[in-house]
C-alpha cells in the first residue's frame, strides 16, 4: 500500500491518481475500505471526503467486481445503431443485469457513456480492450473467447 501512495505527493490533488492505482492493483477491481482509509490518511482528509469523491466517479467501485469489467456504451450514437439490443443480449447471455457480477466471478456487466469509437457503433469495452460493430453473434464469440483465454491461463 505504501508503495502506491508514495508514487504521489501527499496532497489532496493526488487522490484520483491514488484511487486509480489502488483499484488497478486489486484482483477484485474495487476499492476496499482499508485502501480508502489509507488514501484519506495519506492526503490528509477525512474518510467520508474520500468516500464522497470515490463514489462520484463511474470508473471507481466500492464493491468487489468480477475478473473482467464489461462496459457497454449506452450513448445515443450507439443506441441508434442497436446498442440497447446489445445490452439486453449480453445481459441474457451472462445471466446478470447491468451492475451485477456473474456467479463464477468472471464478469461484471456495466454501462458507460460514450467511449468515443462511434465510427464502429455499437461498442463496448472489456477491461482495456475495445470491441465495435457488435452483433448478438459476435457477442457470443467474444465472450466465449475471453472465457477460453481465462481457462488456458
Amino acid at each position: 500500500m505504501r508503495e502506491i501512495l508514495e508514487r504521489y505527493p501527499p496532497d489532496r490533488s493526488s487522490l484520483l491518481d491514488i484511487l486509480h492505482d489502488f483499484q488497478d492493483a486489486d484482483p477484485e477491481n474495487h476499492l476496499s475500505t482499508a485502501v480508502l482509509r489509507a488514501a484519506a490518511q495519506y492526503v490528509g482528509v477525512s474518510l467520508s471526503e474520500v468516500l464522497s469523491t470515490a463514489t462520484f466517479y463511474s470508473m471507481f467501485s466500492l464493491v468487489p467486481r468480477g475478473h473482467h469489467i464489461i462496459r457497454v456504451c449506452e450513448s445515443p450514437p450507439c443506441q441508434l445503431m442497436g446498442g440497447t439490443n446489445i445490452l439486453s443480449a449480453l445481459s441474457s447471455l451472462l445471466g446478470v443485469k447491468p451492475g451485477e457480477t456473474t456467479n463464477d466471478g468472471a464478469f461484471t456487466l456495466e454501462t458507460t457513456s460514450c467511449l468515443g469509437v462511434c465510427g464502429v457503433a455499437p461498442a463496448m469495452m472489456i477491461d482495456d480492450e475495445l470491441y465495435g460493430n457488435l452483433t448478438s453473434d459476435r457477442l457470443q464469440s467474444i465472450i466465449a473467447r475471453v472465457r477460453r483465454d481465462d481457462a488456458t491461463g
Binding site: L16, L80, C118
Partner: protein
C-alpha cells in the same frame, strides 16, 4: 532521419486496432524485412488518416495511395506488387468517389489535422519535420513579446472549439495578474459522438504541447496540465511520450530556446464523469474532489486551479494556436467565415455511409458534410435528421441542410456547433426514442449538486418514457418543455442548461412524432 524511398503509414487508433492493425503492422514489418526492403521502406505508425469504419488503413507515400480494409493476408501482395514492383494493388485501393482518396482527405482544409496520419506521433523528429515548434522558434528568433502573441491570437479571430465559441484571445486577456498561473487543457472529451480531441492527442501530440507553451507564454503561466478522460488509455500514453521527448529536447522546462521563459506540462487522468468537461468541475476534479461545478463568476481566469488564475482551453483550440503564430492572423483568416475564421473538426457518425473524422472550413454546409464527406446515407436510405453537437446539441431536419455551419449561423437557426459531433439519422429513426436516450444520458450524468438539474433530469426521463411507450398525454409534451426551460434559467452549470436545446428542436422540428397516444409516438424502430 534516415532517408527512405517509400513510407508506409499504418493508421493506429482504437478503431483500427479493433480491425487488427497490430497484426497487419507486424506482418508488414516482417514482409518488408524478408523482401530486403528494410533500408528503403520505412514503416510508420500514425494517427487518424481520415476515415473510420473501413478497417485497417495504410497510406503509401510518395505515391499517395491509400489502401483500406487491409488484412494480414493482403500484406505480402502489397509489399511485392507495390513496394517491390511499383504496381498499385487496385482491389484494395480506397474507393475514389466521396470517401478517402479524392474526397475525404484531399478536399479538406487541414490546419489542426495537417500532420495527423502523416507523421509518427511517437517521434519528435517527425513532428518537427512536419512543422512542430516552428511558432516557438519564431518567437525566439524575432524576440516576440507575450503581448505580441496575445495580439496575434486576438486578431486571428480564433474562437474556442470546445463548444461555446468564446474568443480565445479575449479569454486569455481576461487572465488576472499573479505570480502563479496555470494553463489547463480540457481533454475530458465526453460529449456523446465526439472523438476529435482523442484523434488529435493520438495523432499529433506535439502540436498540443506547443499550443499550451504558447498560451503559457502569452498569459505568463509557468505550468500546464492536460486533463484526459480515464478511458483514453492510448491518448494518455502518447501525450506522456511526447511530453518526455519535449522535456529531453529543452522544449519544456526552464528557459525554453533561450527565451528565458520556463514552462512544463503534467497529465491528470479523469475517472469517468461527463460533467468534468465543464471547466470549473474539471478544476475541482484536478484538485482531487468530486467534479461539482463551481458557481461563476468568479471565472477560472480570476480564480481557477488552487484558486490561482487559470486558462482552460479545449484540445482543438490549443492545436490551432501554433500555425496562427507561425503563419500569422491574416493567413488564418483566409479560412472560414469573417466572424468564425479557421476550420472545424467534425466527427460524422450514425447512419452515414462513411463515418469518420473530417476538418473543413467554418461555414461548410451540413449538406456538404453529410453527403460529400460522409458519403450520404448507408444502405440507400434517405436523410431524416442530424443531431449536431452531441447530446447537448440540436436536431436539424432536411430544411436545415443548407445552413452554413459556424457558431453564429447555427445560433440563428436555433442550433449549436457544440463539440462538432454530427449524428446522421435515416428515415427509420424515431426522434422520440433518440430524445429519450439523450434525456436518460443527462439524468445519469447530472452531478446532483443543484436541485433543478438533479430533479429535472429525473422528471424528464419519466415523461419521455411515457411518451415513448405511447402512454403519454399532450400535457406531458408541454411539461417536458416547461421543465427544460426552468432548468435553463436556474441550473448552476451548462449541463442543466443544455437539455432545452435537443427538446425544443425535437418538438419544433419533429413535433408530429410526439402526437401522444397514437401509434406515431416511438413507432419507428431505432434498431437497424
Amino acid at each position: 532521419m534516415q532517408l527512405a524511398r517509400a513510407h508506409v503509414l499504418v493508421e493506429i487508433n482504437d478503431e483500427s486496432l479493433l480491425a487488427g492493425a497490430e497484426k497487419v503492422l507486424a506482418a508488414l514489418e516482417k514482409a518488408v524485412e524478408s523482401h530486403g526492403l528494410a533500408g528503403e521502406v520505412r514503416i510508420v505508425e500514425t494517427g487518424d488518416l481520415g476515415a473510420s469504419g473501413t478497417g485497417v488503413i495504410l497510406a503509401v507515400h510518395p505515391d499517395g495511395v491509400i489502401y483500406a480494409g487491409v488484412t494480414v493476408e493482403d500484406v505480402d501482395e502489397i509489399v511485392e506488387e507495390h513496394l517491390l514492383k511499383g504496381r498499385f494493388v487496385e482491389r484494395l485501393r480506397a474507393p475514389t468517389s466521396p470517401p478517402l482518396a479524392t474526397g475525404l482527405v484531399r478536399d479538406q482544409a487541414r490546419i489542426v489535422l495537417e500532420n495527423c496520419g502523416r507523421i509518427d506521433p511517437e517521434s519528435l523528429e517527425e513532428a518537427i519535420a512536419g512543422g512542430a515548434y516552428e511558432a516557438l522558434a519564431t518567437i525566439a528568433e524575432q524576440s516576440l513579446r507575450p503581448e505580441d502573441v496575445l495580439k496575434t491570437v486576438k486578431s486571428s479571430g480564433l474562437r474556442g472549439r470546445g463548444g461555446a465559441g468564446f474568443p480565445t484571445g479575449l479569454k486569455w486577456s481576461f487572465t488576472a495578474s499573479g505570480e502563479e498561473k496555470y494553463i489547463v487543457c480540457n481533454a475530458d472529451e465526453g460529449e456523446p459522438g465526439t472523438f476529435k480531441d482523442r484523434l488529435i492527442l493520438e495523432g499529433d501530440p506535439h502540436r498540443l504541447i506547443e499550443g499550451m507553451i504558447l498560451a503559457g507564454y502569452a498569459v505568463g503561466a509557468g505550468q500546464g496540465y492536460i486533463y484526459i478522460r480515464g478511458e483514453y488509455a492510448l491518448s494518455i500514453r502518447r501525450i506522456q511520450i511526447a511530453i518526455d521527448q519535449a522535456r529531453g529536447a529543452g522544449l519544456l522546462g526552464p528557459d525554453i530556446l533561450g527565451t528565458g521563459f520556463g514552462f512544463d506540462i503534467d497529465v491528470k487522468k479523469g475517472a469517468g464523469a461527463y460533467v468534468c468537461g465543464e471547466e470549473t468541475a474539471l478544476i475541482e476534479s484536478m484538485e482531487g474532489k468530486r467534479g461539482n461545478p463551481r458557481l461563476k463568476p468568479p471565472y477560472p481566469g480570476a480564480v481557477g486551479l488552487w484558486d490561482k488564475p487559470t486558462v482552460v482551453n479545449n484540445v482543438e483550440t490549443l492545436a490551432n494556436v501554433p500555425p496562427i503564430i507561425a503563419r500569422g492572423a491574416d493567413w488564418f483568416r483566409t479560412f472560414g467565415t469573417p466572424s468564425c475564421p479557421g476550420t472545424k473538426v467534425y466527427t460524422i457518425l450514425g447512419h452515414a455511409a462513411n463515418p469518420g473524422l473530417i476538418e473543413v472550413e467554418m461555414g461548410t454546409t451540413l449538406r456538404s458534410i453529410v453527403f460529400d464527406y460522409g458519403g450520404g446515407l448507408k444502405n440507400g436510405k434517405s436523410f431524416k435528421a442530424a443531431l449536431i453537437g452531441g447530446a447537448a446539441g440540436a436536431f436539424v431536419g432536411i430544411d436545415g441542410l443548407d445552413v452554413k455551419m459556424d457558431f453564429d449561423n447555427l445560433k440563428e437557426y436555433a442550433a449549436v456547433l457544440g463539440s462538432g459531433a454530427i449524428l446522421v439519422m435515416d428515415e427509420t429513426v424515431s426522434i422520440v426514442k433518440v430524445l429519450q436516450g439523450i434525456l436518460h444520458f443527462f439524468r445519469h450524468e447530472s452531478c446532483g449538486q443543484c436541485a433543478p438539474c438533479r430533479l429535472g433530469t429525473a422528471q424528464m426521463c419519466e415523461i419521455a418514457d411515457r411518451i415513448a411507450s405511447g402512454t403519454g398525454s399532450d400535457k406531458d409534451v408541454d411539461l417536458l418543455r416547461e421543465i427544460a426551460e426552468v432548468m435553463r434559467e436556474t441550473s448552476l452549470c451548462p449541463l442543466g442548461q443544455s437539455p432545452i436545446l435537443p427538446i425544443e428542436t425535437a418538438l419544433d422540428r419533429f413535433g408530429d412524432e410526439f402526437v401522444t397516444g397514437s401509434a406515431g409516438a416511438g413507432a419507428a424502430s431505432t434498431a437497424k
